[in-house]
Symmetry: D2
Subunit: 318 residues, 4 copies
């Protein structure tokens, strides 16, 4: 039922929706791995062709997803482990790490809306060094390789009147970093992944379908330097959970003995008829609403710290 496929920022979910339909996607390579010690499931989705990108609704590139059911648990030692694993995969995507980096880290999102504050919180906890390296020279840092780290929280369009992409592009032009890292809160397709999944990708942030070169994208094509983006799904669009419930209802009708008669009726409908049925049930307000857990404040504190620690590990200890 790909017609009802709802927007997700997670490649791993885009992939799943095909699996449900038992469709194989050409041009998309998938590896799965399990870190037994830390109970982290690692999925690597590589979209290798334009056709693969079109099918997945996501640009070509590598998407690494870490899923750790205990990520929401307040265990400091465990979070340090996740930071370590995360830093390893960030380095993998960065490739050659024998040279110095001048990196700009961007915290996207709205610091005033709790589930959207991930990016701003991560930048708050980073070790920023660019101004020190510039003033005292890298030899003052007492290390062989010294990365220059700068950070910015551009704010959201309702606060600034500008696209984040415009601000980031301007800052890149003036300060010339050679690498961009973007941290953002994501929308998941399913509540079960909220706040326990981290996605790292080399495709950046791509509004809309994500395919084609959009001027508001924050990717290497638009920005002119490599872009790594790190995201955690913290919300589900309200329309999604309603859609889910309705699909579940239809399945229930098909399965349950007592409801079989309904299922039989529904099976006589074609896809267009079903879609029409669903559309009527969605109140228009839902499109501007999101669903998020009640303890989102605790989760944001913990996750943002885990990610900023991972980034500090990547860029401070060479």
């Amino acid at each position: 039922m790909s017609e009802f496929r709802v927007r997700t920022d997670l490649a791993v979910e885009a992939k799943e929706s095909f699996e449900e339909d038992n469709v194989e996607i050409r041009g998309v390579r998938i590896d799965e791995d399990y870190d037994t010690k830390n109970e982290i499931n690692i999925t690597r989705v590589v979209i290798e062709t334009k056709n693969g990108a079109k099918a997945m609704g996501k640009p070509m590139g590598t998407y690494i997803t870490l899923e750790a059911p205990n990520m929401a648990v307040p265990d400091e030692g465990y979070h340090r482990e996740i930071s370590r694993v995360l830093s390893k995969y960030i380095k993998e995507l960065l490739g050659d790490f024998s040279k110095e980096h001048s990196v700009l880290i961007v915290g996207l999102g709205n610091r005033e809306v709790t589930p959207d504050s991930l990016g701003p919180l991560v930048v708050n906890n980073l070790l920023i060094t660019r101004h020190v390296v510039k003033e005292y020279g890298k030899y003052a840092m007492g290390k062989e390789l010294v990365n220059s780290v700068s950070g910015i929280v551009p704010g959201v369009m309702a606060q600034t009147g500008m696209e984040s992409a415009e601000i980031v592009k301007g800052v890149i032009k003036e300060t010339n970093p050679d690498l961009l890292i973007v941290v953002d809160a994501l929308a998941a397709r399913s509540t079960k992944r909220l706040n326990r999944t981290i996605q790292i990708t080399d495709t950046g942030i791509n509004p809309g379908s994500g395919v084609g070169n959009h001027r508001n994208a924050i990717n290497s094509e638009v920005m002119g330097i490599p872009v790594i983006s790190i995201g955690v799904p913290t919300v589900v669009d309200a329309a999604v959970i309603v859609n889910d419930a309705m699909e579940n209802m239809l399945h229930a009708m098909e399965d349950a003995e007592s409801l079989k008669s309904i299922g039989n009726v529904l099976n006589t409908f074609n896809v267009a008829e079903k879609q029409e049925l669903f559309r009527e049930l969605l109140s228009p307000q839902l499109n501007t609403m999101f669903v998020t857990p009640k303890d989102i404040d605790e989760t944001m504190k913990r996750l943002s710290f885990t990610i900023s620690e991972a980034l500090n590990m990547v860029f401070q200890t060479v």
Copy 2:
């Protein structure tokens, strides 16, 4: 279908769910009024008997609801008008205003979760006078009637380990106010009321069904002084919108020509069977999730200011 009646903090919604069923409720009196100039709909629900309270799932008392579709619009002058109207109805509930008040205003909720930050934000903007009156005497204020205003933000249980009711009760014992006002973000039954409705009641805050004397209630019975509570619905429980969609689906099935056959099948089910059907469709995570608009930060700023201005009007200008 009162079996599916979901929790709402708004008396006006509890009332509506009966109207849908064409049921009259004894012991409940309802008045409606319209402020043409400010386009505010005012509903006064008075629960007069224990039976009425049981039927409504809310304690006996008066519930005044102001509904203003433009409440979310950023028009400073209009918000001053709403503050004025609101202050009038707060005074109505307070009754005799010829004597001085020593009032404690409590901002319930979690300041770190945007849609739950209404209470803390309101207390932030209050004119607090108790310490001034205590130190310099009321004659120093140059007015005949001088109210003493104190305020507190107790925090939520995950932050304090304590019930708000415990904290408020302790503070009342030590500081002896003669009036308690509680401001809180509410859960609505429907997204259409979010952020455009203010409810004022003399029944306080009552966890659970709200009937019977719960030790964590913040009402006049537990606190020993009159309690006025002011609330704005800022979230809808995630389970509610799914429930709504499903009810809509059933209605659609009953109505639509093409679906009549399903409707006929469903009509053969009894209430218990329908309930069972619905329950299966609700994912367990949804119970700890809420739905809220994406621009909730702007709304919270504006609404909290409107309410604190109304309270300042009530207690500063006698």
Copy 3:
């Protein structure tokens, strides 16, 4: 004693230090005015020549200072009056207002340090319109002249690793505003001006002596468009108040009958000897310290609101 002249961001204070010495400054024109109704003292300092700039330690241009002793008082009506007066003088500096403006408003400073949070707080309360004008066109706004307002809070160097000037320059290049307004907390020379003075100038923000074209300046020369800056002194450098006390001490020694003998001794010292004496008394830590009032949080809330209202008046109601 111009040798001890300490840094001030206020032209009106630079001027005063000359008056103390009874020195007339060529190339500097000064007007004073008094708004009796609102009890606001208005001083206009115009630095007309390079010599004037050198003498004042400030770039050529116009500096308008509003001093209102009651600015710290929590009277909402009075603050609206100040906003109105302020908006009048901002318009005066802007000159021709018959055409539309596309303005970028920058909130300099550190939102995490209370007395430095003025700029960020002002931008928080602005009516931002650029994205709306861009999406719906100016005719949708229902006005003849529609200004496009964007805003940004660049953060401070310790947070970003970048100069604010770099960030602002980049954003200007990408978004092409035709006017820049910069809001910043200032350092005063005297505690008596703290939080009751607003300075508006067309010279922008100029680090160091402010004379000569510094690459980190945010002025029209560097940015390529007119720059208006609005500032309120919220801190005094710690070294300044110590310096003041010492100067007072010397004056006391010269004046007081009982101390005349000391005064006589000091009068035999030359300036260099006095300077040496003072330097020893300043502990080195003081250079990284500032002095600010204990109720700075209340003051920042009120002042930032007054300034953002003034800017909203300037750009929204044409």
Copy 4:
């Protein structure tokens, strides 16, 4: 020159001012220790008699001070070490730790004023358990000894109209903890101790001279349970640094060859005359001002985390 002795919240500074005068204080016992590994200086001041208390201007009890010059350095590993050392001394003051504690931790101060936000920030990072223990029982925690931890941020009088002591007393009465821990930002006597010193004491928080039983004190006498307070000096009163500079000036005058003549004159003054001289030099505004470092936001983040970690170590791992 004890006449000029200015208020300090640190016992170690009160002690020093006597040492300067070569005075021995009866009833005050002092131990010093040095933690070579972590470069922490530990001073234990025990005020044993009423006379000692009167001389020191502090109540009888034990004051342990940790001074670590590197406390301001952003080294996570080092901060964990300080947390460990701090937790050891907190336990020392607590005495018998074989039984379970039900502890209320109070974060005093104003979260809106950066150098006063230490207490609120510490409570933000605590592991709060009281509600969990109450709901699921201590056996659910899987430990033999389970402490119940609750926390509150009462706010400051300008925000609440109430004394913190009133709020804390009320909360204690309702929730019955058997131990109170109070965290607060302190005022130091000297800028050199700012943000690198932690004081732990069993005497609580005592406004004014601290001697005698003040109703706004938060100590065991008023609260009825043991009180441990933990403080870090984050500000110096503005009047203090001026006073210091003036004393330095007099010393300079007495010492420097060229100034000897002035010194000689001053030596003919008695204490009262000197005091008069100083008083004139203090501008009245200074009494409501404080001095604090410019990077106070970073320091507060780091120090509050160090203290909350120490408290988590004390109460979570038995």
